[in-house]
Subunit: 239 residues, 6 copies
């Protein structure tokens, strides 16, 4: 199976981190390529950043499909350009939010998300409403760390634990989703730390969830519906 991961950021550093993480999740039969956009933001922390990254993401998704990718992961929790991408290619495409939350929904009653900054909370709540998940997903908390500081795993883990615990204690959530695909390699540790306090709380890593989701879609032989994602009519478009 051939998968492409599109990083919606202009930084090569992040691309490198993603490459390592991706290999952790996939089997030996899956061939992954990680690419990044050429124009756009250094990180996504607002709807503004999402909009700037849009055209670049779509360019890379189309290139990937033309190059034979059987599935594409746009590695950002805000699902930027995901629905647009489904209109223009004939393979499964997901972002970080949708597969992580769908996985979480089968693990407990209420799903809580812990993300980076207050800036993206309204965007995430808009996604929850857009996808129709308000009955089951309500709690959105923040570690209050910009994306570009997430490489410090100790601080990140401490703050994730604080917020996850608070959400569970207040009975806001019984399952935790990490709300940023830049929170790499901490899900298992957080899950362990929470369990050590007495109650097993599953923690979903959005990168792992997305990659296994795409593998499943390919193995199930499905891809997005053309009755929801119609091909855009031909017309003049200036890139």
């Amino acid at each position: 199976m051939k998968l492409t991961v599109v990083s919606p950021l202009i930084s090569d550093d992040f691309t490198e981190g993603v490459r390592k993480e991706v290999e952790h999740w996939l089997g030996p039969d899956t061939d992954v390529e990680v690419v990044r956009i050429q124009r756009g933001p250094a990180s996504i922390e607002s709807e503004y950043d999402e909009a700037l990254a849009g055209p670049g993401i779509l360019e890379e998704v189309v290139k990937a499909a033309e190059g034979g990718a059987e599935a594409v992961f746009i590695t950002c929790f805000g699902d930027p350009a995901v629905h647009a991408a489904r209109e223009v290619v004939d393979v499964p495409v997901v972002g970080g939010f949708e597969p992580a939350v769908l996985h979480a929904l089968a693990l407990g009653e209420h799903v809580g998300i812990v993300t980076v900054l207050p800036n993206v909370v309204p965007m995430i709540r808009s996604l929850i409403r857009r996808y129709g998940f308000t009955d089951r997903v309500g709690s959105v908390r923040v570690v209050d760390m910009p994306v570009l500081t997430l490489h410090d795993p100790d601080t990140l883990l401490t703050r994730l634990h604080e917020q996850a615990k608070a959400a569970v204690d207040a009975d806001e959530a019984q399952v935790i989703v990490l709300g940023c695909t830049g929170m790499i390699g901490v899900a298992a540790s957080l899950q362990e730390r929470l369990a050590a306090e007495g109650t097993f709380i599953p923690v979903i890593d959005p990168t792992g969830a997305a990659l296994l989701w795409l593998e499943s879609q390919v193995r199930l032989g499905v891809r997005p519906s053309r009755a929801t994602y119609l091909p855009p009519p031909a017309k003049k478009r200036i890139p």
Copy 2:
């Protein structure tokens, strides 16, 4: 009052049509400027087109605010880049969907939208869920005409009437919203034609609704909340 209208299309023709339409709605005290994006699609008929138009729209919105605009109308029913724009400027910004539907909600129980093509129906239904209006807005129908053919008012009016009447007769809607800001100058005629059949059904023109909405916001002294639309953190961004 100084207003800017941003057309998310690369065509000067449409910009001209908008300019005339806009003058029809505003009073002599309001000074309007109509601008268009430089890169993007010739028309918006998909989430793909919306994403391509995003960076250009934001560039024009920022320029407008810097140039003293007191409010900005992004003239597209899909509300492209509207929420992103609210993050980066300190003046009211609306697209076509939100003010038209909000106006309609005070006129009858259920609101029906008649738009251009099947391609944009899922996008519009996503907006309905995102804004939380599913209890009151359900019917989305199409005239099945591409945006660039809307300049034929007779065909447009005939098909709008067909679809609006069908929505009302099936009790899907008691108020009609025109679901494309390119449907210019037909709302009043459609309203008249429907009334001639015995029951007054209000028809909302999204351009008029948006412009009067912005005038009201300015006169009320309000603008988008900074607790929902936080300013994007400073960072490297390649345009």
Copy 3:
């Protein structure tokens, strides 16, 4: 444009206050008449008061329409007799709740209402459900001051600020609506006081919102749908 404001109270004092407030919001081209009911309560602070005021309100609305009013504002946040009035006249009619909340919905994700007494909170929450706004409007708080004591602007402003701040700090709301049309002349000051603490939070004055809403409806050439508001069948009625 000719507008009528109907005060659902039997007090001339309040009518005077309304008259001054109304002139503050409207342009020189709009001609306003303020009238009051002859039978009913001294203030509206319960569903009981609303019901008592109903017949008097309808009498005044009908008289206004017969006298040439192009739009009618029933100046009470509980929207008393608003839907009944739309059945019997052919011009736009609004109360205080609907236009204020609709305006607020375009300014931020969640709308919070600060009203007078605990007595009216269930009535307001019933309106929120009736209008289908539960996904976006949840917080209803009180200053705990009877309507007839609202003329003390300092106490009112202090308590409004306390409650609005509490709603924003608890992330219940990012936009504030004043939940009583008797809270006159304080919206701008409250907005300023909240902004002075660091984050701009828009505050909607229900009187201003209603008047500009009606102006917009008249300029858009619309009025309530006769498919929702059917004319009541003729029959014997003892006033």
Copy 4:
């Protein structure tokens, strides 16, 4: 047990019919008094009629409670003044809608209402939203007969059967509620006629449902919550 039935109509004829019907449902231990309002409409077929009946209904409810009534039924499907009445008396009060629909909810998945005229359909749908029942109650159909013609049981039964059958066949509803308390003495026949076609469909008579509901409330020792229905503050009120 002492019950009062308040007819919100100015006609003695209807009061007589109600008296007979009421006796059919109650046991020998229950003492019923049927009263009517002095000012208001001859029938309720609009929100306008409801508003006109309001003060008269409240006057009778208060009088009944003062006279020792242990529960009050306001015999109209629109639940006029029901919530206002609960604020001013200390005994259970219901209208026609609430107990009929609550009874029906325990009998099948979706509840369908068949009422008199298109005029009251939006009012009934507003009640459904107000009470929060939209997930289970959706279908509202009409026999298209004014209230004052309902005394013709053959036509009424034929049309009720037509509409109930249509609702069941379209899978809109599996339980039927008669949507007017003036549809007297036909529920059992309709239920029989539907069952004769092969599938048992329960039919709820709103008068019977309301009376047994009140009996149950009294026997359970409960009455409306004073945390929802606060007593209206004392003030000047001109009747």
Copy 5:
């Protein structure tokens, strides 16, 4: 009228307590039989216990109907096997949850449930969603006492009061439902204790609510819809 109460527990002690309680609620004309299952759990405190009790409950319900019971009450707040039972008999069947909550919905805006252990809270919240009551029923609290310790009325009452008061004070609920049919004989005392603090809060006893509900259904001449509860096709089944 002949009613059967099915206890889904294997203990004779509980059956005895139920018998006494049941007689408290019903009139002299109603003849009640209390039976219990032969295989299953000693108490129901999980979905696991519910599933174990299922076949035994259904056996007793069928036996009761064959023996002439006109209505059946499965005395457990989790409504175990209730919907299955409605498929196989032609008489009204209820559990503890549905009639208690439906009764409560007519007494105030928001209903709060106080149940036994945290273990059953997700099950109760699943029922709330299944029945479509999320807009009106949200608060589920626990006294943290296993079912088999409920016979200590003092501790039970103290803890119920604590939790009910907390729900009311936090404005989570204005009506209280006892969330276990094993909480026998305390509803009236709890209601009194709450009222003594100043505000009347109705408290629903699920056993009383269920019994009176069934009496009403029988008197109204209705039973569950065969369009929702279809008879199971004949086939091999090993008990």
Copy 6:
């Protein structure tokens, strides 16, 4: 990885069919065991059948976990005893409904289910509400074939195609889920047949979806939350 499939039926024939189907979906590294219950129904076509199968399913799930299974699939679309099972074992457990519908939600806007008989439609709609998916899953249609006749693939495929096409044409659904785990080996053919008519509509096979779902859960290192699924308290239980 070691997986157990529990068939909630007493028939060895069905167990054989499941075994073949299961091998089709899983990789060579996954070791599957298929077991069946000893007491219960020959097929599940009602809530009654579900309840009868409950204790047997739980017995097999517990045995499987004790025997080292890392995940368990209860192969029935009604998710019988799934939530109960999660309370008693420490490994992922799913039925047919949940993973199929969650997979489908990422493939298009609205999900339609085509199941066997009208008898199970209310049960499936109850699951939709219980899981909180009403905004996205609405259409439930039937091929009107009992489970034990599904072995005729031609008739089954013809009727599935009829119903799936009807759902898509009526715009009820853009993604199809097969609503019975006994519909084996037809999903791909149905998907092909629908695509041949011009529009690609994904079709989800519930068995494949469930197995890949469990594989993903195991690879992600997660299992159901103990804050939702608490271990049942110890007590006397008669099997």
